[in-house]
Subunit: 188 residues, 2 copies
DNA sequence: GTCTATACAAAGATAGAC
DNA sequence: GTCTATCTTTGTATAGAC
């Protein structure tokens, strides 16, 4: 993938996390990247193509961040859960971004179908990752569980997604801290 | 408020809950209401005016639904919390709508400032309603509390908002049921 | 690969007749 | 209050030169 193609992905990712997909135009991308509108089409023929590429890169990046703790045989369930929280805590700061797929889910039926498929896959994959972790820790007794692994996974994932929306709306980073702390208290 | 003005609000509310604000055009509203584009401008001069009116009507409607249980001196903390869950459970069905303000929060920085203010107020009001409930039930001992009233309120509200996004993305109503059940188990 | 130029449709909005 | 007609800007996208 060329350097320009990469920059376009980066810029589009940030724009969607700030405004959503529908509100982003080729003009916006063009100005942020520093190339002409037509050049964007060379790398990504349509806006839907770009949207799909952005979601895939975002999803892969998050899963990549989990690989280390996953592959370490010494990592505990606590380590893994803390690793999962990391990206959400990383959202704290001044740009008030939300999760890319959280933003896209809010405008789901405005998205091209090829993008809807990717958003659905993202949600399913993350809930499954958490559910697998909780299922394993239930057997080993590492975490305190109140509810089935699937139910607890859904609560965790949904609360984190909601926390990003809330901290943006009320402009208060402690929204994320509070939810992470409360979730930890439930299982640690 | 005229009957047409009301219909426009209803239609716009549904469209935003399905696609988000940015992706809704006067053409879309026009077709759904059965009037011409220019007639919409008569009732709401700009799209931002319409957006503000929609959020206010939506927020008022939700708070209205809570009034009965709030004013009943016999209602318990459990009753009140169950009443709060009601609208979220009401989302279950075929149209896969999300909370109006949840959708708007996802495209927050694409919104006119007058709308951002309303979205922020909605989030703050709902978290406060829950926090007040939890604070009162902490004194009375009616609910089991793990964390401060504000923290628990944030977890509840955020998880419910996230559950709407998730059940839309994966097209499974049990997402809402699971989160509500798990939240109930935490405090009942 | 990036550019200029342009096509074509759709956007939000207004004027003025009825 | 609703309409037709129109304005102006912006949207995504393509053709073809460099």
């Amino acid at each position: 993938m060329s350097e320009t193609a990469n920059r376009i992905i980066e810029v589009m990712t940030e724009l969607i996390q700030s405004r959503g997909y529908s509100a982003v135009s080729y003009q916006d991308i063009s100005e942020a990247v520093g190339i002409r509108k037509a050049s964007i089409h060379y790398h990504y023929p349509s806006k839907a193509d770009l949207g799909v590429a952005v979601i895939r890169a975002y999803a892969a990046s998050l899963m990549e961040q989990l690989r280390e703790v996953e592959e370490d045989a010494n990592s505990t369930a606590q380590d893994k859960l803390n690793a999962y929280f990391e990206p959400y805590l990383g959202f704290k700061g001044n740009d008030r971004h939300v999760c890319l797929c959280g933003a896209l889910a809010g405008e789901y039926f405005a998205l091209p179908e090829v993008m809807q498929v990717e958003v659905t896959a993202f949600f399913a994959a993350h809930q499954k990752w958490l559910a697998d972790l909780f299922a394993a820790s239930q057997e080993s007794g590492e975490l305190r569980m109140s509810g089935s692994p699937v139910q607890v996974a859904r609560l965790f994932f949904d609360a984190l997604q909601g926390a990003l929306l809330a901290r943006r709306a009320v402009d208060d980073d402690s929204q994320i801290d509070d939810v992470v702390a409360t979730l930890k208290a439930l299982v640690f």
